[in-house]
Amino acid sequence: MRSADGDHEAFAGVYDALVGPVMGLACRILRNTALAEEVTQDVMIEVWRTADRYRPERGTARTWVLTLAHRRAVDRVRNVQASAERDRRAALLSAGRPVDEVAEAVEGRDERRRVYRCLGRLGSMHRVPLVLAFYEGFTYVEVAQALSTPPGTVKSRMRAGLRLLRACLEDG
């Protein structure tokens, strides 16, 4: 039992380190605090359950957990919309979480600034598909429909957009 208790402590550390971005991402995608809390809890339980699958050589734990979180949040938003308001999806061409809702003097603001600055530098051709897919849970097919752009082009732009974003972020 000692070993299990130690694991629980380790998990609490994981939870504390990552619940902020997991919950924030879920809120941004689902726009519903109760659903976001459910997803956050599901993600954290999945992290606990499958921690042994984490491979440090493939990336940081942060990336691993946030990839899981994104998957779960996107699955959930698609389910919610499929069952309740299917046609709402195409209309959800929403702005990001409004910047004015976020207090300026908080920790994490530097990261937000960096990321938003890099998004801003992408240019709309690459930014729009990226934002619609990542933050709204659109498939590339849905993005293509929403923007009246050929699906193959959208796919290519998602890849190019992520590469440009990565280059910009890793520039500092």
């Binding site: 998990f11 920790e107 923007l147």
Partner: protein
């Protein structure tokens, strides 16, 4: 940048964004299994995508922590099917160690899950009405500096203005606008601090859910107003505003 439709690598971005329909996702994963270069690219792009998530970090409620920590006491951990490593703990130590460093990054932002957010979610549904503006509208709404300003109109409709200073443009969306009788339309106005009003476009009197990019540059506008006007619109308002939404910062 274009790739041939048959190029399986082209899907890597959509895969990382979880934007492939499930059949294509399964096909891509099959391809990944035999493509080391693709796996490397997936890992690299995921790192960038994770930063998009980190930028959204907020405070989670303390009850959630307690609930989750209690729950895991009843959830059994899976063991990966591979030879046991020496000193392997059930909770992956690699995971815990990697997070000690990550904790410093745990950026926290305030989350005000306010009415405004709900209003925004509902107001943007009206985007469908804005098809004519399609791409420009999406461009504005996804601008990194887009801010949303929501409000109620005097007739109970919900309205929101999305503003991007970098694009010097704004969009207006409303839900449940009443249908107008007679030959009348809704007119939108940019209001300057000094009180001057500039026409910013018309919305049809058919009401319901409407959205449009506002005409003309944002300029020095501090608010957006909406009035009911005769067909074709007016140069200056001829009726009291149904609402004025402040877009000042």
């Amino acid at each position: 940048m274009t790739t041939s439709p048959g190029d399986p690598h082209a899907a890597v971005g959509a895969y990382v964004l979880h934007a492939l329909p499930s059949a294509e996702e399964a096909a891509f994963e099959k391809h990944l299994a035999g493509c080391e270069a693709c796996r490397r690219e997936v890992d690299e792009l995921r790192r960038a995508a994770a930063r998009l998530a980190t930028a959204e970090s907020i405070d989670a409620p303390p009850e959630l922590r307690q609930r989750t920590l209690e729950r895991i006491r009843t959830v059994r951990q899976e063991h990966a099917p591979r030879p046991p490593r020496p000193h392997r703990r059930v909770m992956s130590m690699a995971l815990a160690a990697s997070l000690a460093a990550a904790a410093a990054l745990g950026g926290l932002a305030l989350w005000q899950h306010s009415e405004a957010d709900d209003a925004r979610a509902r107001a943007v549904q009206a985007e469908q009405q804005a098809r004519g503006n399609g791409t420009a509208f999406a461009d504005l709404l996804t601008a990194p500096d887009a801010t949303l300003h929501a409000g109620k109109l005097s007739d109970g409709a919900t309205a929101a203005v999305v503003v991007s200073q970098s694009q010097n443009r704004a969009a207006f969306t409303a839900r449940d606008l009443p249908a107008l009788t007679g030959n009348r339309v809704y007119e939108l106005w940019y209001a300057a601090e000094a009180g001057g009003l500039r026409p910013a476009g018309l919305l049809p009197g058919s009401g319901r859910d409407s959205a449009r990019l506002l005409e003309g540059p944002l300029g020095d506008a501090v608010a957006v107003g909406i009035t009911v006007e005769p067909a074709g619109g007016s140069a200056q308002p001829t009726s009291d505003p149904l609402g004025i939404i402040s877009i000042g910062t």
